[in-house]
């Protein structure tokens, strides 16, 4: 499996869909389809996220890898969309920000790692508070590119506390990478530097809640 993982990761970095699919097909086990997620897709996406963090991969490779994996999950393993989240409702949103790339990368990576994520799209603070409260969302991931959007999370947190929401907020995006204290300043519960972090943090929170 180790050799296949290296080849799969390289296929993703090369944006080589054909080889990636072949490797998935070769490792497919009809009795335990989720094995392919745990042993190939999740570690490959985590490694690529970490490579980006260390400037050894680029955003385009992270994005294309996540999208390829999401497609593979949808088409090669249609029956293997386990919902390990149980009662936990995980959602992702953009906060007053049109820059969707980070959100799509995290959304695709989480789905490819077997987590059901609801994509709330682009929302204002008020709209997001309403969604979190009405749907009793437990984990909210917020992706931003612009600093003013990041700073709005402070107001979001304030309004959520006023509504007695216990949602856990995970933030990510450029402003948080350039200022390592910013996530705490805005009142988030965790910060992800990359999609690998998002996968780890989300799985950890889900485990803690179960």
């Amino acid at each position: 499996m180790e050799d296949r993982l290296i080849k799969f990761k390289q296929a993703l970095l090369d944006v080589d869909r054909v080889t990636a699919r072949e490797l998935i097909n070769a490792g497919y086990n009809a009795h335990d389809p989720s094995q392919i997620i745990e042993q190939l897709i999740v570690p490959a996406l985590e490694d690529i996220g970490t490579l980006w963090e260390h400037a050894d991969a680029s955003l385009s490779q992270v994005y294309m890898s996540a999208r390829i994996c999401e497609d593979l999950i949808d088409t090669v393993l249609p029956s293997s969309s386990p919902n390990p989240t149980g009662q936990t409702l995980v959602a992702i949103a953009l906060l007053d920000d049109y820059h969707a790339l980070g959100k799509i990368i995290v959304y695709s990576s989480l789905r490819a790692s077997g987590i059901d994520v609801q994509d709330l799209g682009r929302m204002t603070v008020e709209e997001l508070v309403r969604q979190v409260v009405d749907q009793d969302i437990k984990i909210l991931l917020i992706s931003v590119l612009m600093l003013p959007s990041a700073l709005k999370i402070k107001e979001l947190k304030k309004q959520l506390l006023r509504e007695n929401s216990a949602v856990r907020i995970v933030v990510g995006g450029a402003p948080f990478r350039f200022d390592k204290q910013l996530w705490q300043e805005v009142g988030a519960d965790a910060m992800g530097n990359n999609s690998a972090d998002a996968i780890k943090v989300a799985h950890k929170m889900i485990t803690e809640m179960s």
Binding site: L59, S60, Y98, L151
Partner: protein, 349 residues
């Protein structure tokens, strides 16, 4: 302290661009938004008239003793020129709204906006002309263009653009050709209006965004072709993106300077750029928000220690635009520090 007579800002910048030590390290504070604060206007009001930007830039230059004037309004002005939406914010740069290229096929129907007859661009040209009339040759006026390779992020959104880049090579080339015509015309119009140099804003070419191999077959070729058609000096800015692995490639594009990220080591950048590219950077604009005056001074000293020796260095932020939230006292502390410690030969505490 050296014995050189004090230079004008333009002389200082030209000397450092020739990789020699001027009287002092030049300071570029890209304060495109802060002029609104100085005039007590909202950001939207501020950018509604060329005269506001002229006044704002002159006030800011006097206040912080910077070595350049920036005629840049906001990046999204270029999509506004193409008919795209601009979203204003009370505390940040105007942003591009929903992408106006919704389907790949739309690319075939695009036509290049006429620079002189596009009101938002005319406003920038008017501001540039007025600034030139006042500043003359005392300080460089920096115009800005978004590179043909990076503009599609605002034209169609990042995700769609990546897909285009990887999966639709012929439409990608078509878009590059159209954008190149616009970029060259826009840059040359600013130079004709009085800009001294053009900042070629190209974050997508950064290795943070695409791997070097992809850059060589895309952004690099586009930059080389476009920059050769711009009738004045250029500086390439990666807007906080990394560029160390492609420094030697950037040199080949014909640009004179490079805007660098705070996430890359300035000493390593200086070594790589030595005598080939002037470094513009790399104070962390996001962190700057909460610096104390002492911290600001320390950061300036640290940057000077790593990159000032031998010239080829302009102290600036890492993004090419200082956030609205950065307080005046921090900007003043940065300016004071470069005026105190940035004199050649550099002697640091």
């Amino acid at each position: 302290m050296n014995n050189l007579p004090e230079m004008t800002s333009l002389q200082r910048v030209l000397k450092t661009l020739s990789h020699k030590e001027p009287d002092r390290v030049p300071l570029f504070l890209f304060l495109s938004l802060h002029g609104a604060k100085e005039l007590g206007l909202s950001i939207k009001e501020y950018f509604s008239r060329a005269e506001h930007v002229v006044e704002g830039q002159l006030i800011l230059r006097e206040k912080y003793r910077t070595d350049c004037i920036c005629s840049f309004f906001y990046a999204a002005i270029e999509v506004e020129a193409w008919g795209g939406e601009v979203v204003y914010s009370a505390d940040g740069p105007p942003n591009s709204g929903a992408p106006f290229i919704r389907h790949f096929e739309d690319i075939k129907n695009l036509s290049v906006p006429d620079i002189q007859n596009t009101p938002c661009l005319s406003k920038v040209l008017t501001a540039t002309r007025q600034l030139k009339e006042i500043v003359k040759d005392e300080a460089p006026i920096i115009g800005v263009v978004v590179s043909p390779f990076s503009l599609p992020v605002m034209q169609m959104g990042f995700p769609q653009y990546f897909t285009l880049m990887y999966d639709e090579p012929s439409l990608f080339e078509h878009l590059m050709a159209i954008n190149e015509e616009f970029c060259v015309a826009w840059a040359n119009a600013q130079l004709e209006a009085g800009a001294t140099a053009i900042c070629y804003f190209d974050p997508v070419s950064s290795t943070t965004v695409i791997p070097r191999q992809k850059y060589l077959s895309t952004g690099f070729k586009v930059a080389k072709k476009t920059i050769s058609r711009i009738n004045g000096p250029t500086a390439t800015h990666f807007a906080s993106g990394n560029c160390l692995p492609i420094i030697n490639d950037i040199v080949q594009t014909g640009t004179a300077a490079v805007g660098t990220s705070s996430l890359e080591d300035l000493h390593a950048l200086k070594t790589a750029c030595n005598q080939k590219l002037t470094i513009i950077g790399n104070l962390n604009g996001v962190e700057m928000r909460r610096w104390s005056t002492d911290e600001a001074e320390r950061k300036v000293i640290e940057a000077l220690g790593k990159a000032a020796s031998g010239g080829g260095f302009i102290l600036s932020d890492n993004h090419g635009e200082i956030p609205w939230q950065v307080p005046d006292h921090v900007l003043m502390a940065i300016s004071d520090a470069v005026h105190k410690w940035g004199n050649y030969p550099i002697e640091l505490p």
